[in-house]
Subunit: 386 residues, 2 copies
Amino acid sequence: MDNLEIIKRKAVQIFSEEDLQRKINSGRKLTIKLGADPSRPDLHIGHSVVLRVLKQFQDMGHEVIFVVGDFTGMIGDPSGKSKTRPSLTFEETRKSAETYLKQATKILDKDKTKIAFNSEWLSKMNFADVVSLTSKYTVARIMERDDFKNRFENNLPLSMHELLYPLMQGYDSVALNADIEIGGTDQTFNLLVGRELQKDYGEEPQVVMTFPLLVGLDGKEKMSKSLDNYIGLTDTPYQKFEKSMKIPDNVLRQYFELATDLPNNVIEEIMRKDIREAHILFAKELIKMYDNINDFENAKNRYLKVAKGDIPDDIEEVKIKEEKINICDLLVKVGFASSKGEAKRMVIGKGVKIDSITVTDINEIIGIQKGKIVQFGKNKFIKLLK
Amino acid sequence: MDNLEIIKRKAVQIFSEEDLQRKINSGRKLTIKLGADPSRPDLHIGHSVVLRVLKQFQDMGHEVIFVVGDFTGMIGDPSGKSKTRPSLTFEETRKSAETYLKQATKILDKDKTKIAFNSEWLSKMNFADVVSLTSKYTVARIMERDDFKNRFENNLPLSMHELLYPLMQGYDSVALNADIEIGGTDQTFNLLVGRELQKDYGEEPQVVMTFPLLVGLDGKEKMSKSLDNYIGLTDTPYQKFEKSMKIPDNVLRQYFELATDLPNNVIEEIMRKDIREAHILFAKELIKMYDNINDFENAKNRYLKVAKGDIPDDIEEVKIKEEKINICDLLVKVGFASSKGEAKRMVIGKGVKIDSITVTDINEIIGIQKGKIVQFGKNKFIKLLK
């Protein structure tokens, strides 16, 4: 099966397959657009679904452009109604783009990846240009977007500038003369705006391809950092292993399909075997892709030890100057608790052990000795140094 | 009764009376804004309602600013969905503003009247400024405007840029720091947008005052040039007289109240008398205001003659070179018909007379003699010259 077939098999929707085939057949080097949100530069394996599709396009000789929405990012949400869109400075958007690219090139070919900032063209548009842009879209069509529709119909605040955002994003495709734009299924509406605007501006419309959203570790919500249900591309091998073991059994197959490159028949075989073993194999794939396969055994051993209630070999060490210290102060010092109040609750909840013995008194004084192990829950360990 | 009381009595709504009183009491020279549509520079007595209110403000020492919407006028309607808003050139908007001012100063004090073009500030706004402007208004509030609401709910085309127009017009008030804006009741929504935006931009909100719309000569629709139911400020005294006689009896009182300066008790007295006499007195007031009272008797005499079926004394003369000419060609030459087809229909409809004798044959040849009278209908006359 060739790359294009793999891509097409993964896609949820393609607008349209004929257009895609024609563009591919043209033999031109195509420009593949992906929008990047500069306010959330931390990538997780949910993002990897489309990044890996981009890599396949790169392998076919095409060029990827990340469009960083720095213009909208810098404007932020002037209405102040949304806390999730703080306005960013010029430096922040550049730094965020760098972070983004660094992580994305764990998957992508750096030489075939460009980054563009939409302030380049949007900041140069004047009021007349905006009127011209907005004249190309009806209110009815923009209000088809589910969130707009719901907020409007339920009398929830919806500011007029919010209606401009999809048009800005769509205009990015015009400015770049994008051939293909890809994204998650939640982006379908926005990507199609780009396709339609290109027609209005006399360009060949981009092919829009949408891909499934990976569900988070909770098995319910879309994977996202803010819900803390994610496996980050920059998580340590041990974190990847540990989180992989937590994937709900009923979505593990989806994780294999969307987040690894294993062929379907191999996935089938894995899923037929022991489910715990399947989780371990998933972790192995992740570590192989994003870290170093040599790290796999270490991560596995550590995990298994911890799972048995043992103390792992490689524990972070923290130096404590005091001779003696209150248990709660110690928990704050080693970074397990962010306040003494939180530390007290951890002790009262019987989650804290010193050298495998549970501490129950919040006033207990701990003598600091080299090699003493502080433990919280099943898998947080610190080795003390004097 | 002082000027302010007269103004307040005429107003349909004031947002708010307290604000108005406070601004007047401040003793400052206030800026009174009126929007002028550069695509329709011909003023009629329907416009005079607000113009005469402006004059009263001028008499109180305040300054009037006409805002010519040249920015929107120059952009026009890029969607091409409305034929009523063709885009205008820079020269056209300037010329239109001149025409507008020339007519408006038949009522207003020229020295206390300024003209401003909204391209001065709107053309300087960039996309970020537009986002900031639009962030100050919710979709729900803009969609309260009746025409937007109806078109949206009835699935009629409504382009997104149309939603921007009220905000542009509202921003004009911000740019001018207007103290008061006045307009017809049909402008209430737009004027309030200005009042609200000023608050958002940290200015003292303008007082909004709306005034009744004068009904047209059809007694039904709002007076407008496009419906040809108007009495123009630049109509000749005779046209003013003749059109005044056509005002439906049941709206004549309204015409007196809105379009003249006569006090209520005088209007009462006039309306109690003979209704035909009342029409004549209305015509007299118009000619007194906009032309010269000396023209009144002439207009009246001509009208009475024509009404009796007589030929008036002062008829426009047209020189015809031919010795003989077909009746239809003649009608085109003297300007009664714009095509031979139209001329034929006029003859067939028995509307055409030569020296008071109806012409019935479209092939009739007319001998051209000095003093011969060509007549169409009851009141269109041309005297021929050789």
